[in-house]
Every structure is written in C-alpha cells, then in structure tokens.
Amino acid sequence: MGISGTWSRKVAVIGGAITLFVALVGIFTLWRLYDIEHLCQISQGAQALSTAAVAVLITIDWVLVFLEVAGAITTIIVLAWPMIKQVRAATQNVQSSAAQLQAAATQQATGSREQTSALNEVTTTMKELVATSQQIADNSDQVSHMAEEASRSSATGDSTARRALEAIASIKRQMDAIARHMLELGKRSQQIGLVLDIISEMAEQTNILAINATIEAAGAGEAGQRFAVVADEVRKLADRVSASTKDIRVLVEEIRSATNTAVMATEDGGKAVDAGTRQFNDLESAFSQITSLVNNVMDASKEIVLSTRQQTTAVEQVNSAIVDVTQAARENEVSTRQSLEAVAQLVALSRDLMLLVNDQEKADGARSL
C-alpha cells in the first residue's frame, strides 16, 4: 500500500500539473486571440474541463489505490500462506506444549500442596519435638537441681554422722570413765564395809562391856547402882551404834548393789555405744556412698541438661529451616498456581490462535477458488 500508493499520487499530481499547465497555455493563447468575453467563456469551459479532469484523476487515483490494495492483498496471500502454515504448526506446538505445561504445572501444584501439607505436619511435629525437648531440658534441669540439693543434704548428713560419731566416741570415753569411777566406788564401798565390820565389832564389844559393867554394878549392890546407870547408858549407846552400823551396812549394800548395777549398765552402755559406733560408721560409709552416687547423678543430669539444650537448639534450627522450607513451598505453590493460570491462558490463546488460523485458512481457500 505504501510504495504503490505514493507512486500513484505522484502520477496523479504530475498529470494534474501538466493538465493545468496546458490549460494555462491555452488560456493565454486564447486571451491573445479572442476577447475577454470569449476568454470568460473559454475560462468557464476550461474550468469545467478542469473539474472533469480532476474527477477523472480522482477516479484514476481510486482505481490505482484499489489495484494497489488488491496487489498487496494478493502479495500478502501469496507470501503469507506458508507463513500461516508455519503459524499453524507453531500454534499446534504451542498448544501441545501449553497442554504439557498445564499438566506439569497441575502436577507441580498438587505436589506443592502435598509438600506444604507435609511440611505443615512436620512443622507441627517439630514444634512438639521442640516443646518436648524443652520439657526434657527443664526436667533435667530440675533433676540436676534436686541432685545438687540431695548432694548437699547427703554431705550434711555425712558431716552430721561424722560429728555424731565423734560425740559417740566422747560418750564412750565418758562411759569408760564412769565405769572406772563406779568400780572405784565399789572398792570404796567394800572398804566402808570393812570399816563397818570393825565398828560393828567395837559396838558389840562395847555392848558386852556395858552388860558386864552392869553385872558388876548389880553385884556391888547399892553402891553400884549409879555405876549401873552409866553402864546402861553406855550399853544403849552401843546398841544405837550397832543399830546404826546395821543401817549403814544396809545403805552400803544398797550402794554396792547400785554400783554393780551401774557398772553393768555402763558395760551395757559401752556395748551399746560400740554398736552405735559401728552403726554410725556404717551410716557414714552409706552417706559417703550416697554422696558419691548423688554426685554421679548430678554430673549425669548436667550432661543430660547440656545435651538436651544442644538437642533443643538443633531441633529449633531444624524447625526454623523447616519453617523456611514451608514458606518456600507455600511461595512455590502460589507461583505454581500463577504458572498454572498463565499456562491456562496460554492454552486458551493458542486455542484462539488455532481457530483464527483455521478461519484464515478457510478464507484463503475460498478466495483462491
């Protein structure tokens, strides 16, 4: 249309100019040959001629344009036919590829949804795992604290048992001292008994002497009466001394019996103290063992706490990564959905293009006939 249109216009313009020049030359010639009136008539005839020429030129121009368009269309048809075939083949390929893309995008969208769902489950599980790990870490921490408390209590018990052992040893020494004093007291009681025997014999002898003095006084008759009174008083004193020595002997025997009982009690107490010492030794040994075991438990619980914290940190990191992966999967899902929509549009476009190509092909076939 461009080249042929420009060329026809140039031809029309040049024709018009030549016509106008010829007209002007005729007019000038006529003006010289004829008068004004004739000239006016000539001018009017020329004007009508010019108008007719312009109409002719316009008609020619239209014809030329028509011809030019028809040629262009013909050229296009001739030139575009293979291209239409190629477009048709390409459109078919595009449609096929778009269908494959659509299927792939659909499958990818399904996979993305499943992946997102699975990752959500994994995320939930990981959160539970993090919570469980944290709970384990807290429990292990509490166990560690309790183990430390138990260790301190055990150490206190150990110290208390040691002090009790020292106290028992002191009690044992005191018991031994008491036993020695009791034995000494028993010896002194025996000595008192010996002295009492002497005093008792002396009182008895005094009593006998008093009785004999009384007898002598009675034999002396009236002269011995006052002496008999004195002798009787002496005898009474001797009786009292004898009675008192008996009381003292009873007391000394009671003291001796109590002393023997105390000695036996201290011996029993010493045996009990020995048994208590052995038991406290066992107790101290048990406390030491408990302390050692509790320390082991404390160390183990600390290691558990440390490991659990590391595990928690690792699980949290895994959880964070899975959250990122989930987010990426969600984005991928969105992207896939967008791709699917684009592919659907592409499929629709290729289908429309295919229809257009078919229509054009039919139209061209009809025109060529």
Binding site: I208, N212, T214, I215, A228, V229, R235, K236, A243, L251
Partner: protein, 180 residues
C-alpha cells in the same frame, strides 16, 4: 530403805542420843531386875544378870573327847580356861555346833560358861512384871518365872538350878555356885 523411813530413823537416833546427855541421871527405883534376853532355837528366854558374873563372845570352843552332850568343850575367857556347857541341851534342845556363840559366866568358882546361841537384848523390869504360874514346855526346875514384855512372854531361866544340874551331871565337888 526408803528416804522417809531413813530420815525418821536418823531423827530418832539423834533425839535419843541427845536426850541421853540432856536428861537428868536416873536411878533404878524400887525393886527392879535386870535381865538378858536370849534365844534358844525359836524360843525366847531371859536370864537375871545378878546370877551372872559376865557375858562374853566366844569365837571358838574346843571340844573335849568323851564329854557329855551338854559339855561343848573349853574356851579361854579373860585368861581362864573355862568349861562351856550348852544351856539348850540341858533344857532338852538339840546340840548346837561348837562355833561362835555367846557365853554367860555363872557365878561359880571356878567359872562355868553357859553357851547360848543368840543374845537378843537387855531388859530392866519391875518385880510385878514377873509371874510364877505359867505352863511351859521347859522343866520347871530350870524356871524361876515368866517375864511379860511387849513381844510376848519370856521364860526366866534359873541359873542356879542349871548350875546344880551341871554339878550333878559331872559330879564336881569342889565347885560351888556363888548364889548358894
């Protein structure tokens, strides 16, 4: 011995001891007898001190071969070799052993010892505390009366009669009881 009884005994002892020195001197008023309270086996007896010259504790009596059952043996008393007779055997009791015992020296020349197993005490009595009419198991030849005391009735032995019985048994002629 409980504490309360012990304190009571001590107080009583203290009071009696103090009163012995604070009370005015007393004398035996009226007709009174002084008696030794003795025990023979399970029975209680009394002996008038006026019939004795002394009382002694003998730790050992040396038995004599061929002696009569009532002659326990001999013992040294105040430097004198003294025959010791068993009052219990004379009164019909079983013979006691020859261990330590109390010996009553009777008023005799030479002295004769009367062995008794138990010396129970000393008693001063008024004459009206003695009765003469009380039945007993002992031969009344050896009884001079009966003493009524708080713990019962005691038979008062007649030492002179006992000495006569001894003299009669051993056939001694030189010995004489001072009471005779």
């Amino acid at each position: 011995m409980d504490d309360q009884q012990f304190n009571l005994d001590v107080d009583e002892l203290r009071q009696s001891f103090d009163s012995a020195f604070s009370a005015p001197p007393r004398s035996f008023m009226g007709r009174q007898d002084m008696l030794l309270l003795v025990g023979l086996w399970e029975d209680a007896y009394a002996v008038r001190m006026l019939e004795l010259t002394g009382v002694h504790r003998v730790e050992r009596i040396t038995p004599l071969p061929g002696a009569t059952p009532d002659l326990l043996g001999i013992a040294v008393i105040q430097g004198h070799l003294t025959p010791i007779f068993s009052v219990g055997v004379l009164l019909g009791y079983p013979r006691e052993d020859t261990g330590a015992c109390w010996v009553l020296l009777a008023s005799a020349d030479p002295p004769v010892g009367l062995a008794i197993p138990e010396l129970q005490g000393y008693h001063v009595m008024s004459a009206d505390a003695v009765s003469t009419s009380l039945a007993g198991s002992v031969d009344r030849a050896f009884v001079s009366g009966y003493l009524h005391v708080a713990d019962g009735v005691r038979t008062i032995l007649n030492v002179a009669a006992i000495m006569q019985a001894i003299y009669a048994r051993v056939g001694t002629t030189g010995a004489r009881h001072k009471g005779e």
